[in-house]
């Protein structure tokens, strides 16, 4: 079974709880992930997405010197590094978030996006379906052989004997 650790990003942008909102905005603008994970030690405690920055900073709801804890989403929904793609897909289907921190022993080790999980799960299913079809085709050939053997070969052997 494929695990999400295979498709996760490992270079997750992180900030400490004491950082301010403008630090988060700068980090989000400079990295392609679209979010920043707030950590306490190694443990992820919150997440700030592009939407949160637009909601609060660009539309001037708060001052850029405010602490990130004011706007972060907490508690977070994280996935364990050994979660299978299929299970992750099911969790994402119910939660509908776009990004999920990946943890190992409560420490942040990566980040997966909704898109990468859905796409990988789809590829996985297609791969399995192809294998299944190959096996089924072999079964058809096997059944056909049984039919031929039964109709002709066995009769022929009986005739000889």
């Amino acid at each position: 079974m494929a695990k999400i650790s295979r498709i996760m990003f490992t270079d997750v942008p992180t900030l400490k709880k004491g950082a301010n909102v403008s630090d988060a905005a700068k980090l989000i603008a400079s990295k392609p992930h679209g979010c920043v994970v707030i950590v306490e030690g190694e443990k992820p405690v919150g997440i700030i997405t592009e939407s949160d920055i637009v909601k609060n900073l660009v539309s001037k709801k708060i001052n850029s010197k405010e602490k990130v804890t004011r706007i972060m989403n907490s508690p977070i929904t994280s996935l364990s590094h050994d979660t299978t793609l299929e299970k992750a897909n099911k969790i994402i289907d119910t939660k509908h978030f776009r990004r999920y921190p990946v943890i190992e022993n409560e420490s942040l080790v990566g980040l997966v996006t909704e898109h990468s999980v859905v796409q990988a799960a789809n590829d996985n299913i297609r791969f399995h379906r192809n294998i299944q079809n190959a096996v089924l085709i072999m079964f058809v050939i096997f059944e056909f052989l049984i039919f031929i053997l039964n109709e002709y070969l066995f009769n022929f052997v009986r005739y000889i004997v």
Binding site: A29, E50, I53, V54, L57, S59, V118, Q132
Partner: protein
């Protein structure tokens, strides 16, 4: 073949080049979208994402920065008959995730990463159902063939005939 027409969002939220990014942010928040299409004469000329707004507002007043200073050209105009497979290929290989849909020189819809994820999810479900149906049919056929050629099956056939 799934066409763009069936998965696109018809209600496209647009903006103009000379609007400020504060206005663009308000439009995004009120309409719950993450991207705006910049139009000129009803044709898409650029897109503005949340990331662009954040970049544009770093150390600047969002009410003074115009959309044309932050908008990006990372989009691809498509027609309603463009296939889903083509969009997935572009998304994977060229990382393009905004596809304004144009018909008769008029913007009629947009496909974003979210629409592609939803379509992929539906596709995955369809594949799973198909896989189960094929398995069930083959299982029944195999069971029938094996029974037919078994001693008991042959005996019953003899009695019937």
């Amino acid at each position: 073949m799934i066409k763009a027409r069936t998965i696109m969002t018809e209600n496209v939220i647009t903006t103009k080049e000379n609007e400020t990014i504060a206005e663009a942010a308000r439009a995004m928040l009120s309409k719950h979208v993450r991207c705006l299409v910049v139009t000129k004469d009803n044709m898409p000329v650029a897109v503005v994402t949340q990331r662009d707004l954040i970049k544009g507002s770093l150390n600047k007043n969002p009410s003074k920065v115009k959309v044309n200073g932050v908008m990006n050209k990372k989009f691809m105009t498509i027609i309603p008959d463009t296939t889903y497979q083509y969009l997935v290929k572009k998304l994977r290989e060229e990382k393009i995730d905004k596809f304004p849909v144009v018909e008769n020189n008029k913007l009629v819809g947009i496909i974003t990463e979210t629409d592609i994820i939803d379509a992929t999810r539906d596709f995955t479900r369809f594949h799973q159902i198909m896989q189960e149906v094929i398995l069930a049919v083959f299982g029944l056929v195999t069971a029938f063939v094996l029974f037919f050629f078994s001693p008991l099956g042959q005996y019953i056939t003899k009695i019937i005939s």
